[in-house]
């Protein structure tokens, strides 16, 4: 069933999701939403990996996906902890208000 869909569509969907994620990262204020957008970008990449792995008959892509998922989980844990602390300290998690690290 899978094989009836040409790989181009997989990559197209993947690219669309990636772009939506990237735009979200750039334009959204809420850090949690930005965070979710990053997760979305990672998932888009995962999709490309899986599709490529299937069409090339190789398990390398699948292997890579496991890594990505592991990193994403770890990142979620650390990132959310940072956000909690940020909120405690500054009372906001809006990305444009957190701009102390500058000249």
């Amino acid at each position: 069933m899978l094989s009836s869909v040409p790989p181009f569509y997989y990559f197209l969907v993947s690219a669309l999701i990636f772009i939506i994620g990237a735009i979200g990262v750039l334009v959204r204020r809420n850090a949690i939403v930005i965070f979710m957008c990053i997760e979305m970008m990672l998932s888009a990449v995962n999709l490309s990996f899986i599709a490529a792995s299937h069409y090339l008959n190789s398990l390398d892509g699948v292997l890579m996906v496991f890594f990505v998922m592991t990193v994403a989980a770890a990142e979620a844990a650390v990132g959310l902890a940072i956000l909690v602390l940020l909120y405690r300290g500054r009372g906001t998690i809006k990305a444009d208000e957190i701009n102390l690290l500058k000249w």
Binding site: A22, L26, A95, I98, N99, L100, L101, W103
Partner: protein, 656 residues
């Protein structure tokens, strides 16, 4: 015994280290310091005497061929091999004797003279260091080690002129001496370089053995450059200006460094290099002419000075001129002979001046002196002996050495009647100003203030004993070199002959001269030269007596005459009294133009080019930074945008 020659300079070095390190740190008692300093010199002197006598035991030819005492290799680099080695031959041992002997007596004198000074330990440390350097200079067996001593004595001269550095005048005088000497040392160093480039060695024996390989032009150039060094160190025209100012130092220092030893090192150096100088008649002529010119020029400046030490300083320059005249006409041993007698009587004169200052609470102006002979008899009589010696009165040491120089200036193959005339005139001036000094200082009415008058006293024995010893040497020092025409035998000359060349033993003083043929009339061969020598001798003595007579007439009989004379020849008097305005001319030409160049380089080049370049580069960085730091907004999302754009650009570039 000769093997231990290296100990001669080592004793003062140890004295320097002891006094300079332990003495200064532990604040040792003055008695300990002075004992260490004097005994170090005493040992050096004793050893010099012993080595001198063991050298005397050798055959004349063997004396010059004593192998150098090499201590250790110093610089070994490619072709340059230099050892620290000491040379023992008649010339160096004579110098070592004079240096260590005179230094010894002056050290003893200093113990009394510097008694109340707070820098007592420092003074003796410097003085010991000086003697070490001076002995290194005269005993070195190569040019480089000699140069070390040469610079070392210059350093000590600087340190001791500026000994009372809290006051401006000594500090400036020290600086002046150092800078003027640098000019001469530059020439000296370039001369050494030339020797090394052309001969590949710096050791005296090898240089002189290979000297015939040099072309005449090179030899002339080398010897002239070495002479430039000598004019600096030995205060000859045009670099003499530092010596009168050097009188700001303590008086025993003036005596030791600026009269007896250091300033004569130029004469010693030329005598040591006589092989080279003999190959360069042009250089010899230059040396002789500069020497004669300095002799009469400095003597004329001494005529009118009132500062007792400055008169002696100009006298020193003038006498050094005599020595250069001697070595310039090829009479090397006569130059060294005068160097020795001069060390005795001029050292004594300075010590006497110090004793006078001691009696008069530091007074230097002879117009405020007078009538001292009753109250300070020892100082007066010893001073008088030295004055008589320097004036060239027969029977005293100065007569023998000065007369030999004058005779050689006339008769030697390099000599000339003109040189004799200049030398004789300078001798007359010398007699005049020295007796003027003696008369005004010691005779007549005392012109000191009542306050000072009360304190006039003879110096303690520790100061007068060296005076007496040096006075004895000033009187008898000449008898080792009696001219042959007077029926004597010139032992000094014979002793130095293996090194300095000259007459074979026993040959007549006058008979080798070429003028003999020209002047001998009536065909009585040999006696013509001798007669002429006696005639010239008598003439120079008469000139000296005339000088003394004028001094007597001016300052004892008729003290109004010099004032009237000064009135009548006002321009001339002013010019000479102001030392021909040479200091002012140097100030205006060399010093100011150097300062101007320095100022220009500072303002225009340093500030304008180097600093500006650095500032512009730094400013650009700042400017860029100020603009570029705007990128760092602290907005994470703008960074993310940057990353994204960058990634996209890279990808586009990669897949294109």
């Amino acid at each position: 015994m000769i093997d231990y020659a290296w100990l001669i300079p080592l004793f003062p070095a140890m004295g320097f280290l002891f006094n300079g390190l332990i003495g200064r740190w532990c604040n040792l008692d003055k008695r300990v310091v002075s004992w260490v300093a004097c005994s170090a010199l005493g040992l050096s002197f004793l050893l010099s005497v012993l080595i001198f006598f063991s050298l005397l035991k050798l055959a004349p030819d063997a004396r010059a061929a004593v192998p150098d005492k090499i201590l250790f290799d110093w610089i070994v680099s490619g072709d340059l091999k230099t050892a620290v080695g000491y040379k023992v031959d008649p010339l160096s041992i004579v110098m070592a004797l004079v240096v260590s002997g005179v230094s010894f007596f002056i050290h003893i004198y200093s113990v009394g003279y510097m008694h109340g000074d707070s820098g007592f330990t420092r003074y003796f440390a410097y003085l010991n260091l000086f003697v070490f350097m001076m002995l290194t200079l005269v005993m070195a067996n190569n040019f480089l080690l000699m140069f070390v001593g040469w610079e070392g004595v210059g350093l000590c001269s600087y340190l001791l002129i500026g000994f009372w550095f809290e006051r401006d005048a000594p500090a400036n005088a020290g600086k002046k001496a150092f800078v003027v000497n640098r000019v001469g040392d530059f020439g000296f160093l370039v001369g050494i370089f030339l020797i090394f480039v052309h001969l590949g060695t710096l050791e005296f024996n090898q240089v002189f053995a290979k000297a015939h390989l040099l072309t005449p032009v090179t030899v002339t150039l080398i010897t002239l450059l070495l002479f430039v060094g000598a004019t600096g160190k030995s205060a000859q025209i045009p670099l003499y200006v530092w010596l009168p100012d050097a009188m700001e130092g303590p008086t025993p220092v003036s005596s030791l460094i600026h009269a007896a030893t250091m300033v004569t090192s130029g004469v010693y150096m030329i005598a040591r290099c006589q092989v080279l100088y003999s190959m360069a008649p042009v250089s010899m002529g230059v040396v002789a002419i500069f020497g004669a010119a300095t002799a009469i020029y400095a003597a004329s400046m001494g005529l009118l000075q009132f500062d007792i030490k400055r008169v002696l300083a100009y006298s020193t320059i003038s006498q050094l001129g005599y020595m250069f005249l001697a070595v310039g006409v090829g009479a090397f041993s006569a130059g060294i002979f005068h160097l020795m007698t001069h060390a005795f009587f001029k050292g004594l004169l300075f010590l006497g001046a110090g004793s006078v200052m001691h009696a008069l609470s530091g007074e230097l102006d002879m117009r405020n002196m007078g009538g001292l002979w009753k109250k300070t008899p020892i100082t007066f009589w010893t001073f008088l002996m030295a004055t008589v010696a320097i004036a060239g009165i027969p029977g005293f040491s100065g007569f023998f050495s000065k007369d030999e120089i004058l005779w050689q200036a006339f008769s030697s193959p390099h000599g000339h009647l003109f040189l004799w005339v200049v030398g004789a005139a300078a001798a007359g001036m010398t007699a005049f100003y020295m007796f003027r000094l003696t008369f005004v200082t010691f005779l007549g009415q005392c012109r000191a203030t009542e306050e000072v008058k009360k304190h006039i006293h003879e110096s303690p024995p520790i100061m007068t004993v060296p005076l007496i010893i040096l006075a004895g040497l000033s009187v008898i020092g000449g008898y080792i070199g009696i001219p042959h025409v007077l029926g004597g035998r010139n032992y000094f000359h014979e002793f130095l002959a293996p090194v300095l060349g000259g007459l074979p033993e026993g040959s007549g003083h006058a008979s080798f001269s070429p003028v003999k043929l020209a002047y001998a009339n009536g065909g009585v061969e040999g006696s013509g030269g001798a007669n002429l020598e006696i005639i010239l001798m008598v003439v120079s003595v008469i000139i000296a007596l005339i000088g003394i007579g004028i001094a007597f007439y001016f300052y004892i009989r008729n003290p109004e005459v010099p004032k009237r004379l000064a009135q009548r020849a006002k321009t001339c008097y002013t010019i000479i009294f102001n030392k021909y305005y040479v200091d002012e001319i140097y100030e205006a030409s060399f010093v100011n133009s150097t300062k101007k160049i320095g100022n220009f380089l500072w303002r225009e080049f340093d500030d304008g080019v180097i600093d500006r370049t650095v500032n512009v580069v730094g400013g650009l960085m700042l400017w860029w930074g100020r603009i570029l730091r705007k990128i760092q907004t602290g907005q994470v999302q703008s960074y993310a945008l940057g990353m994204l754009v960058g990634a996209v650009v890279i990808i586009i570039l990669l897949i294109r």
